[in-house]
Subunit: 322 residues, 2 copies
């Protein structure tokens, strides 16, 4: 079972307006759509779509939290802990040209609520094989919140994938998360003294994070694909052609691919192939956190495994699993 | 007792952001504030602040409706009817320079829910002396919704104040609402063939609406104050000096002043004096639908009763009541 943890789950709300957004005027909203959002819930939804055994946990608060719970797809098991403050909304105003985003800060979590969550998480992570920790921390949580969750997962022998940035990431590295997935901007922010502009720079920066505690660094570089860097070597994978669509949530689809590959004991090249194909399929889907299974299966065969270095030797990729 | 009717009540949400709004980018929201809003609830809140006996009714739906109910001030009596669809939010993004508004359309009300509301309203309006009907109609309601409410109030011998525009106003006029309160733009839209640019034009346009069924037309003209036009004559009142502040909700404060004046049997000049003073006091208050009682009392003495014509003769104003 894969456990996904959404500490700062969001109600993703879209305001559809018929004219371009105009600062300092008023706009009639034609239609309001809402979905259960946040990175970890996007990952959980995609894993569920692929038929994987997944359980979603995290914190939900107030009326917005109840709305989020009501929008989780039927059949996707979840076990959220309630907090008193309101869960956040992530509002996108979609006009005919493009989208404008407004991100609320999130529910202010008390010490007692966090302690209650740790109890719930200790139980769930004891029956999980893979734990996905992703997204920002809501106000009120200690900066080492992810460090605590990585430590508990390790004691429970679950493999951790951590997708966060900034001080939350730095605080968690000493607890040795098994996989971290920074994107290019997050990698550059985490290792500011190195140039991450080319493949060699990304590998060098990733090695800094390996020395800080990460088991594997999977750097996501948008349309240029992924580079996974471990102590043993590094692999890179990219879509065969540029995918045009909605890139929101592509990173969450990537994490779903990595979690699935780890659950099924795949080697790194296969994990990357799946992660790139799921990211590409999510770009094709109009809504963040969704994929069409047929897109995924079709794209998986086309992923370009470009670089493949083990113990400083290039080797060929003979693996292929679904 | 004054009954206020909020058919399209709103959760007024403000996103406070630290940088100017920038189309097609993303913004971190520093703080989210919320209030129970919509025109009728603003009017009710001000009447309650002034110590008047007021009851608020209308339609509330879903989680947003429950949030609105939870934000109605303690002690302000209310009796709302629940509907299945979500009540609307009125979102203002406040940046350091100015505000940008996004108005959701509102809950889609079913025929059965409207029928249930009419039952509730029939009872409440039977014990009301004044009924305030204000704001837009939510989707799903018949365009003659206000016409139905005016008719029921008349049968119950309650005086009606109607503050709406467009086709909802036109549909209600044949039922003879006692007072309507168009602002300059709404008056120009309702009587498009007349020039409402000066006082005489406003009086002429108002007389068109009197002939269509209105008992009195109170035209609100922002900083230029009010003109009340009846079959017997017309009166105008304006603030002594321009008031700088937040004009949102000033029209709702004006309606509160009119409702209070009618409840206490004041003559038109006193009603206008109170309505102008409450509008001005609401402009001074930073939040829509709020006034400081001291501001109101101080401003009431300064209102300029400029024009005062009864049966085509100018007369002096000797009335003053609180």
């Amino acid at each position: 079972m894969i456990l996904t943890v959404a500490l700062n789950a969001a109600l993703d709300v879209t305001y559809h307006i018929d004219q371009s957004i105009s600062p300092h005027s008023t706009h009639r909203v034609r239609e309001v759509t809402a979905a259960a959002g946040g990175k970890a819930l996007n990952t959980a939804r995609i894993l569920h779509t692929l038929g994987e055994s997944v359980v979603s946990t995290g914190l939900l608060g107030g009326a917005t939290g109840r709305q989020i719970a009501g929008l989780i797809p039927q059949g996707l098991r979840h076990s959220f802990v309630s907090v008193a403050a309101e869960s956040r909304r992530a509002l996108v105003v979609a006009d005919p040209d493009d989208a404008t985003g407004f991100w609320e800060p999130g529910a202010d979590v008390t010490d007692a609520e966090w302690s209650g969550f740790l109890d719930r998480y200790a139980g769930l992570s004891a029956v999980a094989r893979v734990v996905v920790l992703s997204g920002s921390l809501p106000p009120g949580l200690p900066i080492d919140a992810y460090a605590q969750l990585v430590r508990i997962a390790r004691l429970n022998r679950a493999t951790t994938i951590l997708d966060c940035d900034g001080s939350a990431l730095h605080a968690a590295l000493p607890e040795r998360p098994d996989v971290i997935k920074p994107n290019t901007a997050e990698l550059a922010e985490a290792v500011p003294h190195l140039d991450t502009g080319d493949d060699a720079g990304v590998v060098d920066a990733a090695r800094v994070l390996l020395r800080a505690g990460a088991g594997t660094v999977v750097a996501s570089r948008g349309p240029e694909g992924l580079i996974a860097v471990t102590d043993d070597g590094h692999w890179s994978a990219a879509p065969a052609a540029a995918i045009v669509g909605n890139p929101t949530g592509a990173g969450d689809a990537c994490v779903a691919g990595l979690a699935r590959g780890i659950l099924h004991g795949q080697p790194w090249p296969s994990r990357l192939r799946g992660a790139v194909a799921l990211s590409s399929a999510s770009v094709l889907a109009p809504i963040a956190g969704h994929v069409e299974v047929n897109d995924y299966l079709r794209l998986r065969g086309t992923v370009d495994l470009r670089d493949f270095v083990v113990n400083n030797q290039h080797v060929s990729d003979n693996t292929e699993e679904q």
